[in-house]
């Protein structure tokens, strides 16, 4: 049945899209609060990928177990980056923030190129070739696990912002920085925390991505652009929007890769982006500012 075929592809795209969405969630969190577009986002994601690859090679660690370690490492990097550099640029024009983060991205991607070389590296997991049958669909075990883990992390993030005091303080910062300062919140500290959280989330997404894709430095700028597309499609600053955007882009990529040629799959994503920018510039789930 051809319809099963399409369903299968759509479902795989959806699972990949959840990981994309998680990466975009990190970008959305940072932009929503610090109002800086993290142009080094894909580079951070690939750093997470290499971390998982190294841990897998040295300790035989499953990427699902490397993910929390990558979260901790990238949290520290993100926190330091915001404290040390980005915080000075929060009030500066967009193009300067862009150049700063572009410089950081250039440093990161080339450091990885020097350390790991241009060749693709992957992690061996015992269930690499397993498939799981759900109804009439056959899904890869790696994809299911990566997608499920992405949902768990996203849910934890939503819970943090919804229920914890710190999460509420960060949301207050995002809504009204001046008001937040007036009631005594430590804005700079919260910004650093937010950048750390965003970096941690994309680090996890990177670790999970190693289940689906081999790590290469060249992936970094692609993932940066992909995260942007997803966030704009879903709505800048909207967390559910980022996940929805990720799923949409993941599915459209999978279907376009199948219906057209794989080299044209990102054309589809840009098409979706242009249509959304024109018809609903605030994104599918974003609020009009």
């Amino acid at each position: 049945m051809p319809i099963d075929y399409y369903l299968n592809i759509a479902a795989s795209g959806l699972l990949t899209g959840l990981v994309y969405g998680l990466a975009a969630l990190g970008l959305s969190v940072i932009f929503g609060v610090v109002r800086v577009v993290n142009f080094a986002h894909g580079e951070m994601m690939v750093a997470g990928m290499y971390g998982a690859v190294l841990l897998g090679g040295w300790l035989g660690l499953d990427p699902l177990l490397s993910a929390p370690l990558m979260a901790a490492l990238l949290f520290a990097c993100g926190w330091l980056l915001q404290r040390g550099l980005v915080n000075k640029f929060v009030e500066r024009p967009e193009h300067m923030q862009f150049i700063l983060l572009l410089g950081i991205a250039t440093i990161l991607v080339n450091a990885m190129l020097m350390l790991f070389g241009p060749d693709a590296r992957n992690v061996q997991v015992p269930y690499s070739f397993d498939t799981v049958e759900i109804g009439s669909m056959l899904l890869d075990a790696v994809r299911l696990r990566a997608g499920a883990a992405a949902i768990v992390v996203a849910a934890a993030l939503f819970a943090f912002f919804r229920f914890s005091r710190t999460g509420k303080a960060i949301r207050a910062c995002a809504d009204n920085p001046l008001g937040a300062r007036v009631v005594g919140l430590n804005i700079d500290g919260l910004y650093a925390l937010t950048f750390g959280i965003g970096a941690a989330v994309v680090g996890v997404a990177g670790a999970l991505m190693t289940l689906l894709v081999d790590a290469r430095p060249q992936l970094a700028p692609e993932y940066t652009l992909l995260s942007f597309i997803i966030v704009i499609v879903g709505g800048l600053g909207s967390l559910p929007g980022a996940l929805l955007g990720g799923v949409l882009i993941g599915m459209s990529e999978a279907l376009a890769g199948f219906l057209l040629t794989p080299s044209m799959k990102s054309l589809f994503s840009y098409g979706v982006l242009i249509v959304v920018l024109l018809l609903r510039p605030q994104g599918l789930l974003g609020k009009r500012s």
């Binding site: 967009e94 300067m96 410089g103 991607v109 020097m114 700028p221 704009i232 054309l267 920018l277």
Partner: protein, 339 residues
């Protein structure tokens, strides 16, 4: 705005004028004293100075952040190369068509963006999206070679300036003419009614609109001028390198290279893009040389230093090098110094 003094060339001091004339003379005689390598580096510098200047019209004068200028370079390059290869139409006629196509593309993006209120980061992403669509699209257009590349016929020793075929020195002078032309055009534009409208739109769009400036028209003309000028840079590139690959010509990396000279030199200033190109290209060459001399031939090391230099420049000279240099060396009059 602090960059204003560096932006107004009418405030150039005598010392600044002398330096400017000396620099122009140096560039005019450079091919007679420099070797082939130096001429090729200088041609690259001039090319980036030129396209940087073209980009500056949009971002520097009108506040429209375009991160997809590789689109206009690519369209200019491909259109002029295609009519030359397929119909034998030379670059001097081809460039008119190239500019026309680029302006149409720019106006489509501008129209969609400005009519639908796409601003700031969103507008920048719209420009990236169109450049990427062109990159992937041209990969699949076999009429101009697709992803395998498009090549212009090369005859050794040909000298046909009318078809832009000739020695590297010819290209050097063409590039120099482009830079000088763009500099004077930008200067004239800045001092025109339109230029003042652009500055007003950049600084305070609401106030500009309230005082009768047609925002949409001002922005559209900025996009049109910038895309037409950038397309000329593309025509030059096509005939200088004689090969075009969508992955290079339309890449995001190329768009970034185009905007760096202006940002490093000083956005919105006339001299900034030129100075920025003279800093960045030699910096890259020097890094290559040092790395080779040090025997550290690691791929990525050069780009790593380049990234670090970018961060250093934007942290320590956020308004660009030119406004600071002009103040330090008293090349322009300071506000309050009188005429």
């Amino acid at each position: 705005m602090s960059g204003l003094s560096g932006m107004m060339p009418s405030g150039v001091t005598g010392r600044g004028l002398v330096l400017l004339v000396l620099a122009a003379l140096g560039l005019a005689v450079a091919p007679f004293v420099a070797d082939r390598y130096l001429v090729s580096v200088l041609t690259t510098v001039l090319w980036f100075a030129y396209v940087g200047q073209a980009w500056n019209v949009m971002m520097g004068f009108s506040g429209l952040l375009s991160l997809g200028h590789a689109l206009y370079v690519g369209l200019g390059a491909y259109v002029s190369a295609a009519v030359f290869v397929h119909f034998g139409i030379g670059p001097w006629a081809g460039m008119v068509l190239a500019m026309l196509v680029a302006v149409v593309a720019g106006c489509v993006i501008g129209f969609l963006g400005f009519r639908f209120g796409v601003k700031g980061v969103h507008f920048a992403l719209l420009t990236i999206a169109f450049a990427e669509v062109a990159r992937i699209g041209f990969d699949h257009i076999t009429w101009v070679g697709g992803s395998g590349g498009f090549f212009l016929p090369v005859e050794a020793g040909a000298s046909d300036p009318l078809n832009l075929r000739g020695s590297p020195v010819l290209f050097y002078y063409v590039a120099l003419a482009l830079v000088v032309g763009a500099l004077f055009l930008s200067r004239a534009l800045l001092h025109s009614r339109l230029g003042y409208q652009w500055l007003a739109v950049r600084e305070e769009p609401d106030a500009a609109e309230a005082s009768g400036v047609d925002l949409f028209r001002a922005r559209m003309t900025a996009v049109a001028v910038s895309s037409a000028l950038t397309a000329l840079g593309g025509v030059f590139q096509a005939f200088y390198f004689n090969n075009l690959f969508p992955e290079q010509v339309f890449s995001m990396g190329r768009s970034i290279e185009i905007i760096l000279p202006a940002i490093v030199g000083g956005i919105g200033t006339l001299v900034g893009p030129i100075l920025g190109a003279f800093i960045l290209t030699p910096l890259g060459e020097a890094l290559t040389f040092l790395i080779e001399a040090g025997g550290l031939d690691l791929p990525g090391l050069k780009q790593l230093f380049y990234g670090a230099a970018l961060v250093a420049i934007v942290v320590f000279r956020p308004e660009g090098v030119w406004p600071w240099l002009a103040r330090r060396l008293r090349l322009v009059r300071q506000p309050g110094e009188g005429a």
